[in-house]
Amino acid sequence: MADESLVRLRGVAKDYKRGAETVHVLHALDLDIPKGDFLALMGPSGSGKSTLLNLIGGIDRPTAGSIEIAGIRTDAMSDGDLGRWRANHVGFVFQMYNLLPVLTAERNVELPLLLTKLPAAERRKRANAALGLVGLSERAQHKPRELSGGQEQRVGIARAIVSDPTLLLCDEPTGDLDRKSGDEILDLLQALNQQQGKTIIMVTHDPHAAARAKHVLHLNKGQLGREAAA
């Protein structure tokens, strides 16, 4: 598995300063995630799940260790390079959706494409294709406040996949949804993994959600526990 790893972490540690105190969030983690995996990261609050996800996604930097994604050392990149790398290779799905409330669903999905040189018509076409993939074509001109929580999260997923990233990172994607909407989101993630071959890492508290993943990893006090097939 290690040879085909898309994500490879070696000795990754993360410390935070809280006043004079240093908090050790992650302790020398080694982790390999193969391409095409759907991994659920579980663990109690404060165990470091989201921190680990942020490190893999390049929105935070490790205190020690190395992070390699598709053979590229992301921990050694400059902020600018890391931003460009994120735009091209990573899609983020947030618990609170984090859509821009002033933009329509279509404009929200188009947002990552503004960083490309695509012409407006092509950007619009791709945004609508992504919305179609999550089943929200007819809600393209609606603003987030006009959508249900489940629909907002679908728009969030469309935004995450519109630039066709290698890796999809989901932080509690069903955490703010009722069971039915949550199941629909998980169906969507599963389909993206199985049909589109997207590699997905999902942080969740919910065993029901974790059961949809191919593998489950437990984090406890910054250390990886047992790995289990879901």
Partner: protein
């Protein structure tokens, strides 16, 4: 960069009441700025009127004191002078007292040599020079009273009376409508001979002499030479550049202009600071969204650009509307006080200064949020949701 316009525009609609109030503040601030500039120029003189190669010789005490007509010929003989002409203040009123007109009696043949920026068609010029009661008027003045060439208008003077009938109404025949490149489009010029021969009060006296010099660098020497001609006489003169003369005229208004300028400037900058603070606040409220955009791959510089662009969009919109309103208001005020300030109107430089202020205000509003946004870590920003 146009691709970001929908995002910037959408952000303005986020809190419409706040955006409207902020825009209103900027509009009022720039309206005030435009009017302040107009007033400043009006109160401190109209330098646009002044030619760099012209000197004015007037009575040493005040320009309301007259000079003997003979001075004109003596001045013409001073070395370094190309040509000299005379002018006299008429104090014109048309029909009603509110219609005050800046009317001057001039030595017609030399007037056009000294003031080459005043243009007439050859026919109009010919008619004017040949008709003793002929008068030329500015285009705005003609438009205001629907005058046309050939009309004879009764112009009342609040200074001079006619010796033939003792009245103060002077018939003037419009010989032409001049075009002046210096912005003076509301004045009236007629023959000094007509005034001199017909007025009862004095004869062979003029208001002041206007001199065109060969070399503006020698203006100080020439001015001294002119004043030396009349030193120790009963009517001593004071010669200065035309710009200084116009400012001296405007200084009759005292320090009102300065006072108004200070008050308006204080109000303007207070409004700018309040506006900058409000705009900064609206951006600080969106740090979570900035975190999301950075997560999606927007660079720190990209986010900074968007913040500054949004701030400048608001200030630009408000500033240009405010300056536009000021230009319109200045036109209205200018028409009302044309007698005293023939070129009153918002100076064209105001637009340039306004654009600089728009950029400064936008920069000021965006500076602190930009600094905060650039320091903001994505993970901290996302926690603010």
């Amino acid at each position: 960069m146009l691709k970001y316009l929908p995002l910037l525009w959408a952000n303005l609609g986020r809190k419409r009441l706040r955006t409207s109030l902020t825009l209103a503040s900027i509009i009022v601030a720039f309206l005030l700025f435009g009017l302040m500039q107009t007033l400043r120029v009006a109160m401190t003189g109209s330098p646009e009127l002044a030619g760099i190669d012209r000197l004015i010789t007037m009575h040493k005490t005040s320009f309301v004191q007259s000079l003997p007509l003979a001075y004109l010929n003596r001045v013409k003989g001073v070395d370094g002078i190309v040509v000299a002409t005379s002018q006299d203040w008429f104090g014109g009123i048309y029909q009603e007292d509110k219609n005050q007109i800046a009317a001057f009696a001039v030595e017609a043949p030399t007037f056009f040599e000294v003031y080459s920026e005043y243009q007439l068609t050859p026919e109009e010029k010919q008619t004017f020079l040949q008709d003793r009661t002929g008068v030329i008027v500015g285009p705005l003045l003609a438009e205001r009273f629907k005058w046309k060439v050939g009309d004879t208008i009764p112009l009342r003077s609040n200074i001079w009376t006619r010796k033939d009938d003792g009245g103060n109404v002077w018939p003037m025949k419009i010989a032409g409508i001049y075009q002046a490149s210096n912005g003076d489009n509301q004045s009236m010029y007629f023959h000094y001979d007509y005034l001199n021969e017909s007025r009862r009060e004095i004869r062979d006296m003029i208001g002041w002499v206007v001199v065109k010099v060969k070399d503006p660098d020698r203006s100080a020497d020439i001015a001294r030479a002119i004043d030396d001609l009349f030193r120790n006489s009963s009517t001593e003169t004071k010669t200065s550049t035309e710009k200084a003369f116009i400012q001296g005229f405007a200084n009759q208004m005292g320090n009102i202009g300065k006072l108004l300028t200070f008050v308006a400037a204080a109000v303007f900058f207070t409004m700018l600071l309040v506006t900058a603070n409000t705009m900064g606040q609206s951006i600080r409220e969106r740090f979570n969204e900035i975190g999301v955009m950075k997560t999606l791959g927007f660079s720190g510089a990209g986010v900074t650009f968007l913040i500054i662009a949004e701030a400048i969009l608001v200030t630009g919109l408000g500033g240009l509307i405010g300056l536009g309103l000021a230009a319109l208001a200045s036109k209205g005020i200018g028409a009302a006080v044309a007698q005293f300030f023939p070129v009153l109107g918002m100076p064209s430089a105001t637009w340039g200064i306004g654009v600089v202020l728009i950029l400064l205000l936008g920069g000021l509003a965006a500076a602190i949020p930009c600094a905060q946004a650039s320091r903001l870590k994505i993970v901290d920003a996302l926690r603010k949701s």
